[in-house]
C-alpha cells in the first residue's frame, strides 16, 4: 500500500505543472533582427512566433479570430469607427523595468503606422484613422504592431520572455520574466537555434537535443508513422502561382484559365505533399471563410484543352520556383506536366525573372479580412479594402482578386511541429502561433 501510494504521488508529481527547465527549439528561419517593425525581415511564421514571446500587442485574437484583451485591457470606438481609445493594463512593464505608458505605446504604434494619428490621452491611447476602421483591433494583432520601446539601439518588449542572448540568425536565448503582467511562464528559458535545416532539426529531435522542431507538411504523415508526436495547425500557408503581370490580351487570360483548369491539385496534395495541406481554389482557406469551396479546385483537363483549343497562339511560359525548396521543384515540375497535358508549353526555372512563380505565403492573421489584405499585398495584387461588412463582401473582394487572373491558388498547407513528449501543455493556435506561456517540461524518465 505504501509503495502504491508513493507511485501515485510520484505520478501526480510528473503530471502536475511545475516551473523550471529549458525548452530547446530549432527552426529553419534565421532572422537577423528582433524588431517587429523591421520591414526587411521575411514574414516568416516563425518570426511571428518569436515576436509573440518577447512582445505583446494591444489586442490578441482567440481561436475563432475574435479580438480579446492583451496589453490593452479594454477599448472602445467612437461612432464612425475612426477614433479608437485603448486602455492599458496596469502593472505591465517593459523588460528593462519601465512601466508601459500610453506615451510609450503611442510612440511604438506611430513608428510602424506613420499614417495613423496616435497619441496618449490620460490613461488611454488614442488612434485616429482617416477612414472608418471597424477592424482596427484585429489589425493591431499583427506582429508589426507589437509594442516595443526603442532606446539607444536597444529594443525592449513587454512579452513573457526577455532576451538573454542574441546571436542574429543563429541563436536566441530567452529567459522568463518574473514580472510579466500575465504571470510568469513555467519555463525558465527557451533556447532557440536558428537556420537549421529540416533534416538537422529531425536529427536533433531524435537525439533529444531539441524538443520542438519544424516538420515539413509533406513529412508530417511519415513523422507520425515513425512514432513522433506532431502538432499541426489548420492550413495557413497558401501555395499559389503568381503571374508577373496582368493578362495582356483575352487569349492570355484564357491561357491562364486553361492552366488553372489543368492542374491536379488533389494529386499534388495527396502525393507530393502527402496530405499536408488542402487543395483550394481560393486565396483564404475554407476553414477561415466558409466559402472557399465555392472556388473550383478540381482538375478539368477536358475543359482546359477546350479553352486551349480556342487560343490560336499560346505563349510558352517559364515557371519559377524557390531552388532551396525541393518540394516546390516537384510541384513546379508537376504543374509543367499538367500544363503540357493541356497543350500548354511551360519550362521551369530557378531564376527570378519568369513569367509566373510558385510562391508560398503564410496567412498572417486569423482575421480573414486582415489575412486577405496582407495576402494581396504579399502577392503583389491590387489592395482590397480592409473592412467588409459581411462575408459576401469578403467573398466578392477575394473573387475580384482571382478574376484579375494574376494568381492561381493551389493549396493551403498546414504548419506542423514535432513536439517532444517531455513538452507538456503544448497549445497552438489554428494559425500555428505558439502559446508557450503555459508550456512546462516534464522530467525525463530515466
Amino acid at each position: 500500500v505504501a509503495s502504491s501510494l508513493v507511485c501515485i504521488l510520484d505520478a501526480s508529481a510528473v503530471a502536475r505543472p511545475h516551473y523550471g527547465g529549458t525548452l530547446h527549439v530549432e527552426m529553419r528561419a534565421a532572422p537577423t533582427s528582433l524588431d517587429p517593425a523591421d520591414s526587411n525581415q521575411p514574414n516568416w511564421i516563425e518570426s511571428r512566433n518569436l515576436f509573440s514571446l518577447i512582445f505583446d500587442t494591444l489586442v490578441s485574437l482567440d481561436e475563432y479570430g475574435k479580438p480579446e484583451p492583451a496589453l490593452a485591457s479594454s477599448w472602445q470606438a467612437e461612432p464612425g469607427s475612426q477614433r479608437w481609445q485603448f486602455f492599458l493594463r496596469h502593472r505591465a512593464t517593459f523588460q528593462d523595468g519601465a512601466s508601459v505608458t500610453p506615451d510609450a505605446v503611442a510612440a511604438s504604434l506611430r513608428r510602424t503606422n506613420p499614417t495613423w494619428k496616435v497619441f496618449s490621452e490620460g490613461e488611454a491611447v488614442i488612434i485616429e484613422r482617416d477612414s472608418p476602421a471597424p477592424n482596427l483591433p484585429a489589425e493591431l494583432t499583427l506582429p508589426r504592431n507589437s509594442i516595443a520601446k526603442r532606446e539607444g539601439g536597444k529594443i525592449s518588449g513587454t512579452g513573457p520572455f526577455a532576451v538573454s542572448q542574441w546571436d542574429p540568425g543563429k541563436k536566441l536565448l530567452l529567459a522568463a520574466r518574473d514580472d510579466y503582467w500575465d504571470g510568469r511562464a513555467f519555463l525558465d528559458t527557451i533556447d532557440i537555434a536558428m537556420g537549421k535545416s529540416l533534416r538537422e532539426q529531425l536529427i536533433s529531435f531524435d537525439l533529444g537535443k531539441a524538443q520542438v522542431i519544424e516538420i515539413a507538411p509533406e513529412q508530417a504523415h511519415r513523422a507520425v508513422a515513425e512514432g513522433r508526436h506532431v502538432e499541426s495547425s489548420s492550413p495557413v500557408e497558401l501555395i499559389a502561382l503568381v503571374f508577373s503581370r496582368d493578362p495582356r490580351a483575352p487569349d492570355d487570360g484564357r491561357q491562364r484559365q486553361a492552366l488553372a483548369l489543368s492542374i491536379d491539385r488533389e494529386l499534388l496534395n495527396t502525393v507530393v505533399l502527402q496530405g499536408g495541406g488542402e487543395p483550394g481554389g481560393g486565396l483564404l482557406p475554407n476553414w477561415m471563410t466558409g466559402y472557399g469551396f465555392l472556388f473550383p479546385a478540381s482538375i478539368d483537363l477536358g475543359l482546359a484543352r477546350q479553352v486551349r483549343g480556342e487560343i490560336p497562339h499560346t505563349t510558352s511560359w517559364t515557371l519559377g520556383y524557390d531552388p532551396a525548396d525541393p518540394t516546390a521543384r516537384v510541384i513546379a515540375e508537376r504543374i509543367a506536366l499538367n500544363a503540357r497535358d493541356a497543350g500548354l508549353g511551360m519550362q521551369i526555372a530557378s531564376t527570378s525573372t519568369t513569367d509566373l512563380r510558385l510562391v508560398r505565403i503564410p496567412l498572417i492573421s486569423l482575421d480573414p479580412q486582415i489575412a486577405l489584405g496582407e495576402l494581396a499585398a504579399g502577392l503583389g495584387l491590387p489592395p482590397s479594402k480592409s473592412t467588409f461588412a459581411s462575408v459576401d463582401e469578403l467573398y466578392g473582394a477575394e473573387n475580384k482578386l482571382l478574376q484579375s487572373q494574376r494568381v492561381i491558388p493551389l493549396l493551403h498547407l498546414r504548419t506542423a511541429y514535432g513536439v517532444s513528449n517531455t513538452v507538456k501543455n503544448w497549445r497552438m493556435a489554428r494559425d500555428g502561433s505558439w502559446r508557450l506561456s503555459d508550456v512546462w517540461l516534464a522530467a525525463e524518465k530515466p
Partner: protein, 608 residues
Amino acid sequence: MIFQRKLLAVFALTVLVSVVAVAWSISSLTRKAFEKANEERTAALVAQFRHEFNLRGEDVARRVETVAASEGATRMALALSHGSPDYGAYLNEARSTADNQELDFLEFIDNQATIISSAQWPAKFGYKENLTFISAIPKDAFLKQEELPDGAALGLFAVREVNLGEKPLLVIGGRRIDKDFLASLQLPAGMRAMFYQNLGAGFSPQFLIDTSGTVQQPDRIAPIIRQLQQQQRETTTLVHWSSNEGDDESIDAIPLTGRDNQLLGILLIGNSRRPYVELRQRIRSAALLSGGAGILLAILFSGWAAARVTRPVEQLARAAREVASGNWNAQVTIPSSDELGELAETFNRMTRELLAQREHLVQAERVAAWRELARRLAHELKNPLFPLQLTVENLLRARQQSPQQFEEIFQESSSTLLAEIANLKAIISRFSEFSRMPQPQFQQVQLNDVVQNVGRLFQAQLRAPEHVSIECKLELAEPMDLIAADPDLLHRALSNLVLNAMDAMPQGGTLTLQTRQNGDLSFVEVSDTGAGLTPQECERLFTPYYTSKPHGTGLGLAIVQSVISDHGGKISVRSESGHGTTFVIELPRNADKLQTADQALDATARSH
C-alpha cells in the same frame, strides 16, 4: 671567283645540303612516327572508352539489379500486385534509392508502363513511360536518351524486372554521360574527350561538352557533327583552332547509337598536334644550328684547306710575276713533297736555268757588242785615218820630190789633216755622249707641250727656202693626262725621231706628230711619208750603231729607245715599204714616280 671562295662555296653547299637532307629525313620520319603514335593512341583511347563504357554498363546493370533486389522494390512490387500503388508513398523512393546507388536515373514502372516513382523527374508519377524500344528485358546496358524537365540527357541504362505477383515491376536505372563521365576517362597527356548529345538534326553548341563543360569555338566542331549525322561513320578530322599550328587538333569522331540504332551521341577524341609541331620546330632549330655551325666550320676548314692548297700556288704566281718583271732570281720555298712541291722545284730549276741562259746570252751579246763596237770603231776610225795616212805620205813625198811645191802642198795637207782630225774628234764625241746618257729627272709633264716644242723647233727649219718641202702636222689629242717624265730627254728623243723622219724624206713629204690617250697610257706617234723600211730593217732598227744612212752613227734610235725605256715606256715601229714609217711611243703615267717627284719638289721647297 678565286679558288678559295670556290672551295668555300663547295664546302658550305655540301654541308647545307647534307643538313637539309638530314633535317628533312628526320622531320618526315618524325611526322610518320607521330601519325602512327597518334593513331595508336586514338585507337587505345577509343578502346579504353569502350572498355569504360562496358564497365559502366556492367556497373549500372549491377546497381539496377541491387535496386531490383532491394526491400523497397520488393515492397513496391507487392503493393503493385495488390492493386494501384500509393504514389505518394513512393514519391521520393526512386530518388533516395538512386542516391544510395549513385545512379543518375532510376524509375519504377508498372506493367502498364506507368511511372510509380522517378528519381530524375519525381513529378512524373502516374505518367506513361515510352518502353517501345524494349521488346525483351535486355541483359546488358544500353544507351538511351532520357527526357528531363529541363531538356534531355543521354545515359547508360539497364533494365531489370521484379516479378513477385501477376504485375511485374520494372526497374530502369542509369547513369548520365556527361562531363563527369568524360572526366573519368584516363586520357594521355595532349588528348581530350568531348561529347555531343545528338538531340536533333543539325548542330547545337549547347549539346557539345568536354570535361570542363562547354567547348570553346564549337563552330569548328560543327562540320564533324553534321558529317557524322549524315554518315554515322567514324571519321578523323584535323581542326585548326587558331592561326598557330601548335593549336591544331586531330579529332576522331565516334558515333554512339541506341538500341534502335538511332544516333544518340558522338564521342570526340581530340589529339593535340602541339607535341609534333614542337618536335618539328626543335628539329628545324637543330638543323639550322647544325647548318650554321657546319657552314662556319666549312668556312674555317675551307679557309685552312684553301690556304694549304693556294699558298704555294700564290707563291708560284708571285715568283712568276717577279720573273716577268725581270727578277730572274725569284725562288719558291714549299716544304712539301707533293705535286705542288714538285711544281715549285721545277719552277726554281726553270728560273735557275733561265738565269744561267741569260748570263750566257748577256755574255754573248756583250762579246758581240764589243765586236760590233770594235768593228764600228775600226770602220769609223779607218775612214779618217786613211786620208791622214795619204796626206802624210803625200807630204813626205812632196818634200822629197818637190821641195818648191812643198809649202803649197803642206798648206793643203794641213787643212786636210785638221779636217780629218776634227772628224775623228766628232766621232769620239758622239760615242762619249752615248756612254754618258743621264738618268731622267721626273716631273709633271704635259706631253702635248713637249710635242708642240719639238714641232715648233723644226717648223722654222722646215720653212727655210733652201730646205726641201716638208709639211709638219701636229695632231694633238685633248685632254691628255699629266705624266711623270723628263721633258728634256723626251724632247731629245722626239728630236732624233723628227731628224730621222726628215732624213727619210729627201724629196719632201709630210711629217706628222700625233698624241693620243688610251686609259693610263699616253701615246706619241711620229710619222713620215718617206720610202719606208723593210721588215729586216725594222728588226735591227734599234740595234746600237746600226744605221741605214751613209753618214749615220747608228746611235740615234738607240738613244731614243734608251730614253723611252728609262721612262718605263715602249717604242715600236710600223712601216711599209713605199708608204712611210711611223714610230709609236707608249708612255705610262708613272704616278708613283710623280708622287716621288712631288715629294722631292715639296722637300726642296721646304728646304728653301
